[in-house]
Symmetry: C2
Subunit: 152 residues, 2 copies
DNA sequence: GAGTTTTTTGCAACAGTATTGCATTATAAA
DNA sequence: TTTATAATGCAATACTGTTGCAAAAAACTC
């Protein structure tokens, strides 16, 4: 797994530094999108400023993409191999859980096809944000309801 | 027009203060969504902290809604009359212009219908963000191209 | 492997964004 | 008019994001 992050860095012509390997491994292993503070919390000592730069570098290279979730708090997730420095191809919806606050990529849900011209506006991209309750919180809600019913 | 903002404040059980009337008039008159700094720039002297509170109050009452545009910078726009304290009904897409940075409501473009259950996730809301070039920037681009062609 | 060049990091400094508390002011109600 | 309630202005603080520079690390060259 560690060799995967090294390979990605090599393929993108980036230096294989400790910070970059750690951050990239975190993204590779993560089931949901990560904010800067998520990453900070995952390591006991990491320079916040370097993190900003690392995230920007990774995004520019097409390694990670912005996971827009409607909260206005930036989160990023690992890209698919097809993304590159010249063209992000993260054409899928993101799901934001209103319970736990996690944001996940819904790769199987493509962003809607929209006419390129709408009322005189040129539409270059459409981004879909879904929000609701994730399966983990659903399970918790269900077990909470069961306990409540038992108490009654 | 001023009496319209007073009416909205009355209907929502809010005090009709100077700040609120000015801010609400700005929203009523604006063709695009407004950020806090947009509002600050529109008045020579207005307390930024009060602005934060005012926007939050208006949003909570269903007077304005968040115009999510993918930039992670909060913007708000006036709601339709159907929105209320208990339920926002701003079920339309927003368009963000990559040229000028403006964000407008596309009331005629509804957010897509999505199944309520997707892969074990309960989807309560879908939000569509469109980005590209607005008509005003298109016009400018066209006139710029014309000038360039003339120079060649 | 050593030396040189390039890239990245750590840190200071700063700018921008957002929230809380409290006294004062303004608005609404009696 | 007086009283009660809501809103504002301000200080203080926390959080988020950017820039510059020297030092450290990584990459390159011989």
């Amino acid at each position: 797994m560690a060799s995967n992050s090294i390979k990605i860095l090599e393929e993108n012509g980036l230096s294989k530094t400790e910070v970059r390997k750690k951050v990239l491994n975190l993204f590779i292993d993560s089931a949901c999108a990560l904010s800067l503070s998520d990453i900070e919390a995952a390591f006991s000592k990491i320079d916040r400023i370097t993190l900003y730069r690392t995230l920007k570098t990774f995004e520019n290279k097409g390694i990670i993409h912005k996971a827009v979730d409607g909260t206005n708090h930036p989160k990023y997730a690992i890209c698919e191999a097809s993304c590159s420095e010249h063209k992000h191809e993260d054409d899928h919806a993101h799901f934001h859980c209103l319970s736990c606050g996690k944001t996940v990529c819904f790769e199987h849900v493509p962003n809607p096809a929209i006419p390129e011209l709408l009322n005189g506006y040129v539409v270059e991209e459409a981004t879909l944000i879904l929000s609701g309750t994730c399966k983990e919180c659903l399970v918790q809600k269900k077990s909470r309801i069961s306990i409540t019913e038992t108490l009654e």
